[in-house]
């Protein structure tokens, strides 16, 4: 089944030439005004311009070649010149948070965890040039808003007997063959999820048998004319777990009562669309899975994984032209409203699925997503990160770089690093800590992991502004939010068969050095006649001079004879003078 027939395979096409997208105005000015219009643009009467003409040289030399297996092998190749790294595995960190804090010395029953997930990243033809509005932002922002709403009633859920645990998971690297979700599933099978510790109090491991159901939010921005979203299921899954799936669908649809969102059940014969849940099903095919998307058959998003996946097109920037920056930030866009409705429905469904009973009236009221938060998140991720929400939610260390950032942070997963995460993952982690964590009274230096109880993670963030000045309160957030590696198991498993295609094997090539740098050069190119004439002139000069000098050196004594006349005989000629 082709889900994106218009766009399938477009990024893998080999164009054979480098392609650069210039977005800096001064660069575009140079190309157009100092190069093309000045030298190349045809005259009004259509005659071509004379040489010299303006040309550009595009250089995108990459070090890796052929495929990952070859590249990794070559990186390990012995060389006297030192390390020879050619490529690096891609990845980042997944973020997740559980509602309950079951420690490892207690039991976690089978089928007791509800997993709800979304993807963070996107891909594009051009580096750092895309906003991924529908591809991933709508999905994970909906999930974050649902999380915020649900955690408002966390005490009620935790007090309920036999409540199922709810885990919110944000997968990174999904655009590259599901790096994050395959990594999570692998660590679940190895028993190292969520925390890979063997001593101290830590969270009980979650493995595939513990998962009761899996709900995933995919693209939810481009709703069709009726404003519906679609609930997809896997036909094989239906064969074994039909009753449960039906219960999930009914529950989700019930949760939308009174809300401005419609969830329709997609045709049962359709396969599951591309989703992180696929990785879970690959490992264990009887986990009930429902995926929520904005399309039934073909993607409604014409700009999936593209730099044209713009917020304007999903009504996430419907500002009137005279709004100030601060007002734009607070303006609740159409998309924000729609997402808030969806998040509310999801929160209510999760409450019911976990506790087993529908929420009562007051709880239902509390379980409402805050559309203001949603619009703030959309603004910060899609328009400018230099916004109040991010400023409150980052650590003081990161706040500095936030001040100088203008463009949205990139949605590219990047190269895996065990120590660091990129901005997207860090910000989502911080938001999760803020929405689900408790503020504790610890100073910045004390705000770190407790040796005795490693279930909780601590994060120090700037917090809200104190009064009128620039000073911020500074919060220490204690939460159950954790990161886990999003690194393809192919790079972890010893002796993995690279040809098997089981896990993602994406690596990013290295590049660099003086002569190999990524660059575009503009210059003039002379006409062939001028070049050839200079060369010929040079050769003529060379040949002529050879002939003349040869002739002169042969005849030198006859030409320069005058010295012998009038300067006396040889004997008065001392060699000295």
């Amino acid at each position: 089944m082709q889900w994106n027939s218009a766009g399938s395979g477009l990024m893998r096409e080999d164009l054979g030439i480098p392609v650069f997208a210039l977005s800096d105005e001064s660069d575009v000015f140079k190309v157009l005004h100092k190069c093309f219009f000045k030298f190349n643009l045809r005259e009004k009467n259509e005659t071509a311009r004379e040489y010299p003409l303006c040309a550009a040289e595009l250089n995108t030399k990459m070090y890796a070649a052929i495929d990952t297996e070859t590249c990794l092998r070559r990186s390990r190749h012995f060389s006297f010149l030192g390390k020879n790294e050619l490529c690096d595995p891609m990845g980042d960190k997944n973020n997740h948070v559980t509602m309950l804090n079951i420690p490892q010395n207690e039991t976690r029953a089978d089928d007791s965890v509800i997993v709800v997930g979304a993807r963070l990243d996107s891909a594009s033809l051009f580096t750092l040039e895309y906003q991924a509005s529908d591809t991933s932002v709508t999905g994970f922002v909906s999930l974050l808003a649902a999380m915020e709403a649900l955690w408002k009633v966390k005490d009620k859920i935790r007090k309920t007997k036999n409540a199922k645990d709810i885990m919110f998971a944000f997968f990174h690297g999904e655009a590259y063959d599901y790096i994050g979700s395959s990594s999570m599933v692998y660590s679940m099978t190895q028993g190292t999820f969520p925390q890979d510790l063997d001593h101290g109090l830590h969270l009980h491991k979650i493995q595939l048998q513990h998962i009761h159901q899996l709900v995933e939010l995919n693209q939810v921005g481009y709703r069709d004319n009726e404003g519906s979203l679609w609930l997809h299921t896997d036909p094989n899954n239906r064969k074994t777990k039909l009753a449960q799936i039906q219960k999930m669908i009914d529950g989700l649809q019930d949760a939308t009562q009174g809300l401005n969102v419609t969830l329709q059940e997609a045709d049962a014969t359709l396969p599951l669309p591309p989703a992180s849940s696929q990785r879970f099903l690959m490992e264990q095919s009887d986990i009930p899975v429902v995926v929520v998307t904005d399309h039934q058959t073909q993607f409604t998003n014409k700009f999936y994984n593209s730099r044209l996946d713009l917020p304007e097109l999903i009504n996430a920037t419907d500002y009137s032209p005279d709004l100030s920056k601060a007002d734009k930030y607070d303006h609740v866009t159409k998309q924000a409203e729609l997402i808030a409705e969806l998040s509310t429905a999801l929160a209510r469904y999760l409450y019911q699925a976990s506790t087993g009973a529908a929420p009562d009236a007051t709880t239902e009221q509390t379980l409402t997503a805050n559309s203001s938060t949603v619009t703030h998140m959309l603004y910060c991720f899609l328009v400018s990160p230099n916004c109040e929400l991010f400023k409150e939610t980052v650590s003081p260390v990161n706040a500095e770089s936030l001040k100088t950032t203008v463009l949205p942070y990139p949605f590219y997963v990047g190269v895996y690093s065990s120590q660091q995460t990129r901005e997207l993952s860090t910000l989502v982690y911080s938001l999760m800590a803020r929405f689900t964590g408790d503020k504790v009274d610890l100073s910045e230096s004390d705000c770190k992991e407790n040796e005795n109880d490693k279930r909780y993670s601590y994060l120090y963030v700037q917090g809200t502004l104190k009064g009128k000045g620039q000073e911020r309160e500074g919060w220490c957030l204690k939460s159950l939010v954790h990161k886990s590696d999003a690194l393809s198991p192919a790079f972890i498993i010893d002796g993995y068969d690279w040809k098997s295609g089981k896990y993602s094997t994406w690596t990013e090539s290295r590049w660099g050095g003086e002569s190999d740098s990524i660059r575009v050069r503009l210059f003039l190119v002379p006409s062939k006649q001028l070049q050839v004439s200079i060369l010929v002139f040079g050769i003529v000069v060379l040949v002529l001079s050879l002939l003349i000098v040869y002739w002169c050196s042969i005849h030198a004594t006859h030409i320069f004879t005058n010295r012998l006349t009038g300067s006396g005989t040889q004997s008065t000629y001392s060699p000295m003078f």
Binding site: F523, L524, P526, Q531, L535, Y550, N562
Partner: protein, 259 residues
Amino acid sequence: MTVMEFFGCTFITFGPPFALFLFTIARDPMRVIVLMASGFFWLCALLMSSIVWFAMVPLRDHLAFGVVCSVLLQEIFRFLFYKILRKANDGLLAVSQQTTEQHVTPKDFSNRHIMAYVSGLGFGVIAGTFSIVNVLADMSGPGTIGIEGDSKYFFLTSACLSLCIILLHMCWGVIFFSALDKKQWIRVGMVVTAHMLFACLSLVNQASSSDNSEVYLGSLIPSYLLLFGSGVAAFLTAGGSLVNLKAALICRRGRYEIE
């Protein structure tokens, strides 16, 4: 700008000096040594000029000042090399006579003009190299000059002017040394003046641009006229004459067995 322009300009600038080196200097180790030594003296002059330029902070942007200073220093170092060469004449002669089977003949020292010519050429080659080699290095890429508005004949003009300075130095070497030998101070002054004239003429090139390439002719034509004049003067100084030249041209055959 392509390899073609690179080779063309290299051949233009270094063709005649290469021919001169190949046929008149290469076979004789003593001449090669004197060539290298005089080149080194020119480098010293360049070093001194750059120190002076560096020291004169407010005048750094004024090209004319640097040019005038450099010319004077070069001529001073030419004078110094003359002194050293004459003083070392004895020693060099003794060295050259030790290896009896070699081709070195005392002729090199009996005809003073030969060493003057070699030292002039040495000066010239290194001066020309410094003048053109950076331009050549930039030439071999895919593009050419002009996107910032400069004239497209820059490379050709640079090569021609570099050739001119190499040959001019060679001529001036002969004239200068002979004038010092005979204590003809007027002639020494004329060499210095000619050098200054050439250098200042090249300042005219600064006014060129892509629309205004004719400016280059303003420096090229006088420079080559100067070269012709210096060449004639050097030719006559070294003992040549029009009569001899005509004789050699006409009676080409059967003449060289006399030597």
